[in-house]
Each structure stands twice: as C-alpha cells, then as structure tokens.
Symmetry: C2
Subunit: 497 residues, 2 copies
Amino acid sequence: MACENKYAVDGTDFEGIFNPQRLAIIGVSSRGVGFGNGILLSLLAIGYKGKIYPVNPKGGEFAGLKIYETVDDIPEEIDFAIIAVPAHLVPQALEECRKKGAAGAEILSAGFKELGTPEGAALEEEIKRVASNGIRVLGPNCFGIYCPKSGLTLLPGPDLSRESGPVAFLSQSGGLAIDFAHIGKWMGVRFSKVVSFGNGADLRENELIEYFRRDSETQIISMYIEGVEDGREFFRVLKNAASEKPVIVYKGGLSDAGHRAVASHTASLGGNRIIWESVIRQCNAVQVRDLWELVHTSLAFSLLPRRVYKNVSVIGGGGALGVDACDVAESFGMAIPALEKDVRESIEAVLPKPGSSAANPVDVANPYVPPNILKEVLLNAAGDKRIDLQMLIQLFYHYKSISRSLGAKSVEDVTPYRGLANAVEKVVKTTNKPVILVCPNIKQELEYIDIERMMRKTRRTFLDRGIPVFSNLKDAFRAVSHVSNYYERKVMREDRG
Amino acid sequence: MACENKYAVDGTDFEGIFNPQRLAIIGVSSRGVGFGNGILLSLLAIGYKGKIYPVNPKGGEFAGLKIYETVDDIPEEIDFAIIAVPAHLVPQALEECRKKGAAGAEILSAGFKELGTPEGAALEEEIKRVASNGIRVLGPNCFGIYCPKSGLTLLPGPDLSRESGPVAFLSQSGGLAIDFAHIGKWMGVRFSKVVSFGNGADLRENELIEYFRRDSETQIISMYIEGVEDGREFFRVLKNAASEKPVIVYKGGLSDAGHRAVASHTASLGGNRIIWESVIRQCNAVQVRDLWELVHTSLAFSLLPRRVYKNVSVIGGGGALGVDACDVAESFGMAIPALEKDVRESIEAVLPKPGSSAANPVDVANPYVPPNILKEVLLNAAGDKRIDLQMLIQLFYHYKSISRSLGAKSVEDVTPYRGLANAVEKVVKTTNKPVILVCPNIKQELEYIDIERMMRKTRRTFLDRGIPVFSNLKDAFRAVSHVSNYYERKVMREDRG
C-alpha cells in the first residue's frame, strides 16, 4: 500500500488532527460550566501550545480567552475542533468547522445512536453526512484525543503525563481510555496517541489501526474494542499491523450479557467469542482479558527487548515463593530451570547462610540482602546461558521493622531501593538480559501508608532506569509471556514466508 | 465420631497448644539476638497474657525475664514450648519439654528433612520418636501458631491483629501463613487460629483439619498444602470437614516444576494436578489458585450470609464498566439481569440526568452522586426479587479533583465515605441482601498518596459495618462465586442424603 504522506491514510490529514496548531472549542460558556470549559481548562493545565478559539453564541470571555460568537468569526482557519454542545446543535457546528478548514473534530456530546431512539440515530446520520463532505470525526459520545506531544488531552484529563512514548491506544470507551492513560502514568506506559472514538460515526477502528501501523511515533498498538463495523477489513488491517508491530486487543463484551451491554454503550455489533478469539490469533495479535492485563502487557512490550523469553531466573526469599513461581511460570509456558552447577556454586559463594538456596528460584534467605550481593547473584545467574530474563522479588515492606527498631528514621531512609535500582541497571547493561522487579505489598494497613509511599518511589526509581516493576509474579509472567509468544509466532510466520 | 473434650482430637490437648498459660521458649539469648529472642519480643508486643519462661544454658536475663538454664529449672509444669535452637539440639530440648508436661511444641529451627541430607532426615526421625512418647509437635522448619485469643503469634509477627474471627488457616508454608495473616489484617479476614506446620513431622494437615472441624471458634477452614502424607485419610477428613464448614484449599506445586520445588521446600509428596482437582471437587472443598484468591474467598465466606448468589445488581458509573461487569459475572457463572420495569422506573426517578441508565448495571452517570441517592438506588434495586446481592462500584479517586478545586481541603474531607458506609449498612439491614463495595484506584502516583489514605479509611469504615470491600470487580465476583457454589453443592448433596 503506497503512503506518500506519513501522516495521511487515504487523504486524511492526521497531522492536523493530532497536532493542531489552531483549535476551536465549540461550547465554552463565559459562566464557566460544562464540558467545553472543562476541556479548555484541561488543555491549559497540560500545556497545549497552539491557539485556542472558544466559541459560544453568547460571546464573552473565559480563562482570559475571548469567546467567539460563531466559528466563522474566528480570524483564521482552524486545524481541529472540539465540539461540546447539545446533540441537536452538533451537525451545524460540525459543518461550520468543516467550512473553516478543520481537518477533523472530536464530538464529546452524547445523545446519538447510543440512546436507541430514532432521533438519536437521525442525528448521528447527519454527522456522517457532514463528515463525508470533508471533515474527519471522532465520536460522538467520546472523550477525544490525548497526545502528549501536541498537548491534546481527553475530556477528564488535566493531569495525564506530558511525556510521549511508544504506545498508541484506540478505544471505543472513553472511560477506559482515561483509565489506561492514568494507570499508564504511574505504571510506566507512555503514549504516542490515545484516541477515544465512542460511537465511531466516522473515524474508527480500521482506519485508526492502519494509521498507527504507519505512524513512526507508534511502536505498539493497543485497543479496546466492543464491536467492529467491517469485519473483513478489520481482519485485514489487524493482520497487516500485527505483522509489523505488536498489537494488543482487549475485546469487551465477549459474554452474552456483555454483548447486550455493548449495544447500549456504543451501539456496535459485538460478535461471537469464538470468532473473535480465532481472528485475533490468526492475525498474531495479543489478546488480553481486562484493563490491568492491557496495562501490564503494554508495559512489557514497551520496556523489554524484542525477543522470545523461555527460561527465567527468579531471585527472592521464602520457599513457598519458589513453589508459586514455578506454578505460575509453567502456567504461562515458561520455565525456571535449575541453574548450571558452576553458576549455582558462584551464587552460593555470595549468599548469606543459613537458609539460602542457589537452585532456581534462588532463595536469598532474608529480605535484607544488600544491593551489592543481589547484584552478584543477578550477574552470576545471567551467566547461565539458558536464562533469557531475570525476575527479582523484593519484599521491601520488611524494612518497616528496621525503620522502627532504628527509631525516628522513616522506612524510605532505610530501604536501599536507589542502590538496588543502580545495581540492577548495571546488571542489565552488562548481561544484556532484562531484569523485572516484583514488589508485592502485603502490608496495606492505614498505619503503613509510609510503606506505600516508599514503594511508589521505588517504582519510579526503577522505571527511570527502564526497569519494569510489577506488584506480583503472576502479572509479570503473564506480561512477559505475551511478549515472548508474539515474537515467537512472528518469527515463525516470517520463516514460513 | 465421638468427641468428649471439644479441644481434643484423639487425646491431643489442643487447649494446651493453642491457649497455653505457661510457655517455655528454648533458645533465648541474653545478648538479644536470634529467633528465640524475636518470638519472645513478638509475644510481648502482641500482648500474650500467660507466663513466659525463656531457656538458655548460659542463663541471664532478657526483656526483664529471667532465663532458665534448663527446662527442668522452670519452677512449674509448662503447657507449650517454642523451640528455636540449632537443629542438632532440638530432639533433646523437645524431650525435656515433654517431661515438663508440655502438651505440644512448635519447632522454629530449620535443618531437617528439607535439607535432603541423611543427617537432616535422621534428626527429623528423632523428633518423631520423641513426639510419639507424648508431646505433639508443629514443625520443624515452621513459623508456629498465631492465635489472637491467647496471644500466640507467628515468628515474624509482632503486628498481627489481636481480634479473633471465624477463619482457621493451616499452612505448610510459614511465609504464606504470615502473608495471609498480614493481608487479612487490612482486608478484614479475622482468624480463630493460624498454624504453620512446616515439615509436619508430627501434627499436620489431617489432624489439624479434623481439629478445626470440631473447633467451635472456627467457622471457615482454609489451608495451603504442598503435599499430604496420607491421601486416603486426607480425602476422608476433607470431605467430613467440608460437609460441615466451608473449606478453602490452596494447593501449591500443581505444575511439574512447582512439584519439584515442593520437595526442597517442605519435602512433601506433591501429587498429580488432576488427582488434586478431582479430590477437592469430590469433597466439595473450594479450590483457589493463589494467595490473593485465598484471602478474597475467606473474606467473602466470613462476611456474606450462607446462601446461593446467582443474580447481582451492579451500581456504578461508565458504560465500559457495565460491559466489563457482564463479562466478569458470566465468567463466574452469575448474571446481571435487566431489572423489572417498575424497579427501573423507581431508580430512574432518583438518578441524575443525563447520561444515567437504570438498566442493570445501573449507570449513575457521574462519580459524585451523594450517599442518599445511592441509598435509594440500592433500596430500589433490591426490590427486584431476583436480585441476590448488590455490588456498588465507587470511583472515589475522582474526589481528588473536588478537593483541588476547593483549595486547601484534603481529599478525605470531601469524600463522603462515612455517609455512604452508614447508608449501605442501613440498606443491608432493610433488604437482607448483602452489598459489596468495589473501590478501584487507578491513580496510584506518588503525588496522590492522599487518595490511597482515603481509600484505606474507606475500607476500614465499611469493614467496621461488616461490608466487604474489594479493589476490583473480578476479585469480588470470583469470591462470591466460591461462596455461592459451595452452598449450592452443599444443599444438593444434603438433598441426595
């Protein structure tokens, strides 16, 4: 498929849509209430750099910006519009934006096809008609676009990350788009673009997948889909995309009841569970079952080298942890093989006695083993050439006892998370084998909020060094298995030609 | 089976073991280091009320207590002993405690069968021999007993809850016992007794299950098992127990690799996955797959009325939430049926407009709907006679925006969690249908630690009123499904006679 403009899919000016320099917001009240005002404040808060032109027939001023009475009054052409007026006023507003040169518009307003009424359906048809004359539409009934680079943000999103990253997310649900963006912020997932397209009257899954396949800022495509409009084309674009980049699919409404709920949410056709699962598998896309799995998998694809991972070393403390690790690894198709004899001996030489074990999982016997020892253990374990990836389990909450026995010191001061992050970073560079930190917290009492704060600092410190952090082994293994399975199948398919 | 003494199973004095009045700790150093000193301090911290007799050949004093040079020097008979001396000294210490009248002892020391050496195996045989002469042994290689009523606590456990409750836990892993006790503390699971039995040289799964079946303080029996010694007897006691009380089984080492890890952890025979699953099912015990599922299921059995739950109303906000709820409910064999027309209309009458929906899931349209409205919605939804249980999803993290826009006020001050807890408590009393609070937190950034604190206060406030709180729908539905399936099968079995 030829592609002359890297920002265009079949003539659509995606540059104007995702990186607008001149933005109209239709439906900003000088009294300061409503969605239009909310999104305007969010754009200012997140630092959108382009020009903003608020519009309202009553005129006035808001947040220091003049409100234009009509779109036509705006003194220059616009690139993009955000429409947040009552449903019956939307088609006309959209037409005015089209005339003013906008490449696209996001319609935040609800009250269309999702109502299940003839009036709602008719209004949505009106939108499609205007769109077909030359303006691309996201929505209606959506939260719009979040693009850290340009400073566009979702409707309820003044405090999303301003850092760009490799993950694109297209979502039929606005709620899920904002949830993923929020969780991604602290879990370490960074986005190229997030698009909530709601009812999907115009731009929707197929064109967006195709756009993200071509978008050089996007390395990983993730999506929440309730139903598709053109199944055959979906299969084609999904397969194309997944042959080039990892594509993660969260299909909502796979159950019978969920299928019915889809109808009232975004009015799309859900389709059968077995068909969906086989389509996703045939395309070598990655299927996830809920939002958290979507986040974890996106994180793993973002931070892990593009490889197959089969054999894992697990370094932690406590025998049941080892049993659990083996059960979990096997359930995700990975192994925790016994380490080679000389590797085992080199680990035994540095581990504290008694109670430690240099088998795999490596049991370091107590939670206070210092970073320099853990570094040696990791370096040595990586020396076993079968090991593809290492997981380091740290029960940092135990440092609460240390902080108490030392009196005034806070748990942050006594927990060596910075030293460990530096050590792990060096291990990864030296060995070229990724390390994942697993940091569970069993002490979530109100009184131990300081442990939570220390753990959040730990997470951030490791993420700053490109090391993924998970709260439990199961999430970590599942995410790694998705990465591994994707690249394994990709290589097999490419070999077959 | 006759049972003359409610504390005895086949002659064992469990009262002396779980509620000792006179306790010896063998291996307390006047220098203050070691496991013996650690457990002594833990007992004092948690408020053990009986007499403590520390023992060490060097004598001296620790924590204001005289250290006796031998067990024989203790001026009266003892009920129970905690043994924390090097492995080779354990058999003799145990024999001395037996002679001093102890009903039982927990052996915290490691260095026995789990080593896989002839020496370790021989020492463990010695322990068995002494035990057979009339002292019951927990361990070796264990964390011992936690019993809030008597003030016994696990080795690393000075800060476990002092409240008793309905759940007994028997665990081959000390680490898992302490983890469950810690998580239970804030999740709301309260224990009658927790027993870590490690290598299980003497007292182990079969007798403990039988004891907990008879123990009037135990309403729910939970266990972590790596392997059993006598499979036929295990089947018999498990079936007996599960016919009287819910029994929750977490079997570790079901995978091939996990099976091997079991050998080095507690040296027990693991057994085949299919055999285990069919044994658990035939006994109508509840199988869980990890520690968190164990906690969640124990919580649900603790707080929910003993019934079958099939139809659930879900009250929350956001369309994708509804789709997800339906998918999750169906995957656990439950339904979220559309509410009856008059019920729906009564809910519509109180819900904010626009954007709300009184179908089931009920979409309340925004996260700021006040407790009095939610109370009406819950009361009305319970009026549909098919509804067995209600789940209320609260996205309390949204109150962060409110607290910010109001300036100085903290998120705790503006979040109506107390009012909602009171309202829900009244709903449960009025309708006799349980309500579960689901409180996800997508905003776990370092800067939003105040949201976490508010959520922990929320959890505690609801738990104080007997209302279970989960962090996500999946955990909640899975836990409820275990309760429902257990009682459904129990009734079927009883009907069959």
